[in-house]
């Protein structure tokens, strides 16, 4: 039985995986299909999107019209269970009393983790993104190059299914021909921006998202993913055939019960379970990695939340894929005479250099988009077009007071209304009655919003450590966060908000958000974008990094970190696709090392 309870686990597994999201899911997929016996610990409950997803529910069919509440912090239909910015019984603390130095930490407690609700934006890091320090002198280089990860990006894209186009733009990599699925058509507001942004020299192109715009080719892809392994090919093909193409309705944040988008629970875990090589223990809150006398990790100690008792699983290899913050917490709590400062922490760098994406938004109203003939713009449940960072040359030429780029995501279309008034008070003014309804109809679809997703440079003031006093309800010390944006990020936000105002102006619109905000007010708090990476950086030297280029900790050779904790930088590209590509590459390495008897 693949989903098991404590006490039913095999005596010793090949691999213990902590976490079931993008990193843990990819890890389990690759390892089990290679024949290794794995056990996966998930801190939340089991979750089955096939029957638990809110698909066509209208806001009037949900409590409080679906709006966010302290219980469901991104709204009722959002695919997040038992968590959000706060998890009952599992607090975290802030080192500073100043709100601008706080870190917001999003944690679901469910199988599949954040992959159930994420935005599905799947952008590759480009060549510059692996060698940022070499390029501009800031931050850290990765010990690997784009060429090392390129084949794994391709594999992941083929497996999960990613729509998009190849544009040949600088540091915005193309995928090999035939890998990407067809991009969806542009919507009215997206096409209107595309036309007018051209005047400003800003490219608007198809975004890459993990949504099937047509069914995956189950007859040919599995053989490319698993050459020479017909058993794996058959399992993967069966799993692919169970996924339907997008039917162009419902927001991806709800998850998807036809499996048209990627979530770990619909793409990675079903084939992994089908191998018979995976046991999943839900409600298992990892406490620490245990260490053998030989200096190698030999298992994980966890709280069984169903009984409140401590339990243990044993394995020859341990993989942490619990999210940057959780993996840091587990490492720092794994203290032993060999590792008094926490496991794999001889460098003292576990917890350091946590990063998020830089976020800031500007909204506007575009008269040309008023009173458009009604038409369906639900589309692929998320954005179709976006703006990649387009000023690499100007930036390296020293034209800006910030060193890294941002991409631009849009909202604003004729998306599903409900839960809030479609007509802002200042547009409605004193209107009521039929005049209010006419004004609401006039303005519907004419509101636009532009959001920057930018690269933060790692700094010494943004890190996580154990709180010396506070423990969670299981008695486990919790994380205390330190956070500070540097001028780099603030200057970027200044550039972004001015650019967005110019875009709105170019479309003949008016900026609606406040324009007198300083960049310090406009920037989203740390963690708010939910792109937390870093905390156990990979590097070329054991003295100044936690892992090597294989996500393998320097100090404990059978301990791997397979979430975003090893990221030495956080490019503007959303981290999920890179987490998966790295996890697949690491899994291949583990298989190879296991065969050689090196673990």
């Amino acid at each position: 039985m693949p989903i098991i309870t404590t006490g039913k686990s095999d005596t010793e597994y090949d691999i213990v995986i902590v976490g079931s999201g993008a990193g843990g899911g990819q890890m389990a997929y690759t390892l089990t299909l290679a024949g290794l016996k794995c056990v996966m610990l998930e801190a939340g409950r089991a979750y089955n999107p096939d029957v638990e997803t809110s698909m066509f529910q209208r806001p009037d069919q949900t409590p409080l019209l679906g709006v966010a509440t302290p219980d469901k912090q991104m709204g009722f239909t959002d695919a997040t269970i038992d968590g959000g910015w706060e998890v009952p019984g599992e607090p975290y603390t802030q080192a500073s009393t100043k709100p601008e130095e706080h870190f917001w930490w999003w944690r679901p407690r469910m199988l599949g983790g954040r992959t159930n609700h994420w935005g599905r934006i799947s952008l590759r890091n480009g060549p510059y993104d692996f060698k940022p320090r070499s390029r501009d002198g800031f931050g850290f280089d990765w010990p690997i190059r784009y060429a090392d990860l390129d084949p794994y990006y391709t594999r992941v894209e083929m497996l999960i299914g990613v729509y998009g186009s190849n544009e040949g733009l600088e540091n915005t990599p193309d995928s090999p021909p035939g890998v990407l699925l067809p991009p969806p058509k542009g919507r009215a507001a997206e096409l209107y921006l595309q036309k007018h942004a051209k005047k400003l020299g800003i490219p608007v192109i198809s975004i890459h998202r993990a949504v099937l715009t047509r069914p995956l080719d189950a007859d040919s892809i599995p053989a490319k993913l698993h050459p020479g392994n017909p058993w794996a090919q058959r399992i993967v093909a069966d799993s692919m055939r169970r996924r339907a193409a997008c039917f162009w309705a419902t927001d991806c944040h709800r998850g998807c019960n036809i499996r048209a988008n990627y979530q770990s629970t619909t793409v990675h875990l079903p084939p992994a379970l089908e191998t018979g090589n995976l046991d999943i223990i839900p409600n298992a809150h990892a406490r620490e990695v245990t260490l053998g006398k030989n200096g190698k990790a030999n298992g994980v100690l966890y709280m069984d939340k169903t009984t409140g008792r401590e339990a243990r699983v044993k394995g020859k290899v341990v993989v942490l894929a619990a999210s940057s913050g959780e993996s840091v917490r587990i490492l720092l709590n794994s203290k032993s005479p060999q590792f008094p400062r926490g496991l794999a922490n001889r460098s003292g760098l576990v917890g350091k250099y946590i990063m998020d994406s830089v976020g800031a938004s500007v909204s506007g109203q575009i008269p040309a988009l008023e009173n458009l003939p009604p038409h369906n713009e639900d589309g692929a449940g998320g954005p179709h077009l976006y703006i990649p960072w387009w000023l690499y040359r100007e930036q390296i030429g020293g034209q800006f007071n910030f060193a890294r780029g941002y991409h631009v995501e849009f909202n604003g279309s004729r998306g599903m209304p409900g839960g809030r008034s479609p007509l802002a008070d200042d547009l409605a003014r004193g209107a009521y009655g039929t005049r209010f309804k006419e004004e609401a109809r006039r303005y519907f679809g004419s509101q636009v919003g532009y959001t920057c997703r930018g690269e933060m440079i790692p700094n010494d003031n943004s890190f996580a450590e154990l709180d010396p006093q506070v423990k969670d309800q299981w008695g486990i010390p919790v994380l205390r966060w330190h956070w500070r944006w540097s001028d780099q990020e603030l200057n970027m936000v200044d550039h972004a908000t001015k650019t967005f105002a110019a875009m709105i102006g170019a479309m003949g619109g008016k900026v609606r958000s406040r324009q007198d905000r300083s960049s310090r007010d406009a920037i989203e708090p740390g963690g708010k974008v939910i792109h937390e990476v870093g905390g156990a950086l990979m590097g070329a030297d054991a003295r100044n990094s936690v892992c090597n280029g294989w996500n393998q900790t320097w100090d404990v050779t059978n301990l791997f970190l397979s979430d975003a904790a090893p990221f030495p930088s956080n490019s503007d590209k959303n981290p999920t696709l890179t987490i998966m590509a790295l996890a697949w590459r690491t899994a291949d390495y583990i298989v190879e090392q296991a065969r050689k008897g090196n673990l």
């Binding site: 302290p70 239909t77 009215a188 039917f247 162009w248 639900d378 519907f444």
Partner: protein, 241 residues
């Protein structure tokens, strides 16, 4: 299938639920404070120290204290009253209906608010256990009381008994805070908040979608982008082939 079996096991576990309840009540107080402060700042609500909006706000059943929890079945279909009891009095509900129908009447764009259960949604909202909604309750219930008193004062009849023109006469005085006379300022702030609530509910329904011009939430075999007349109106071409 296996996933479902495991889920039942965890939900059936009483120890875990009891522990979580304790923690939830402790944590939510902190959340309450945070949300309260944010809402008050954002909504520019009337100063609570300035005295009651209406002299006779009727005593009502207090709102719920327990929400739907952090793990409700989101695949269900719900209606107001499913998670907590509705608490408005019959009179309050009638005023909500009358006022909502003045704001969102039946016309060429669709049915009246009361035909779309807006009254139930407003009641559900004001009866909810969460901070944002409880804050609204402190604005809306006194406002409903004010409307009733003002109607009695002007027309010697309750708001539900006066005619449409008389209702408009009251609404015209309070429909926009910036234009309202000093003595109507607080009532105007109530009016705008009530309008937001009523419109939030109205446009959450299929008929409301139609009134707005939203088309969607139906499965399709292809997505073709905006139709030619939209592209022509905007002077753009479909660039994604």
């Amino acid at each position: 299938m296996e996933l479902r079996i495991a889920m039942k096991t965890s939900q059936a576990n009483g120890i875990r639920d009891a522990t979580n309840d304790l923690i939830t009540s402790r944590l939510s107080r902190r959340t309450v404070m945070k949300w309260f402060a944010a809402t008050a700042a954002a909504a520019n609500l009337p100063d609570p120290g300035a005295g009651p909006l209406a002299a006779n706000t009727p005593v009502t059943t207090p709102p719920a204290t327990k929400g739907y929890g952090t793990d409700p079945d989101v695949s269900g279909y719900y209606k107001p009253g499913d998670f907590w009891a509705l608490t408005l009095t019959a009179t309050q509900r009638e005023i909500v209906s009358s006022l909502a129908d003045i704001l969102l009447p039946g016309d060429h764009l669709g049915p009246a608010a009361s035909d779309l259960r807006v009254t139930d949604f407003v009641d559900e909202w004001l009866s909810a256990p969460y901070p944002v909604q409880q804050k609204d309750r402190t604005v809306i219930l006194p406002g409903l009381g004010w409307i009733e008193e003002e109607s009695q004062r002007r027309f010697q009849k309750g708001f539900n008994s006066i005619g449409t023109l008389q209702r408009h006469a009251i609404c015209d005085d309070i429909c926009w805070p910036a234009d309202a006379a000093a003595r109507f300022k607080k009532a105007a702030e109530f009016f705008v908040r009530f309008r937001t609530l009523a419109a939030s509910a109205y446009y959450s329904t299929e008929a409301g979608w139609k009134a707005l011009g939203y088309v969607g939430n139906v499965s399709m075999t292809s997505f073709d982008g905006p139709p030619p007349e939209v592209l022509a109106k905007l002077g753009v071409e479909q660039t994604v082939k």
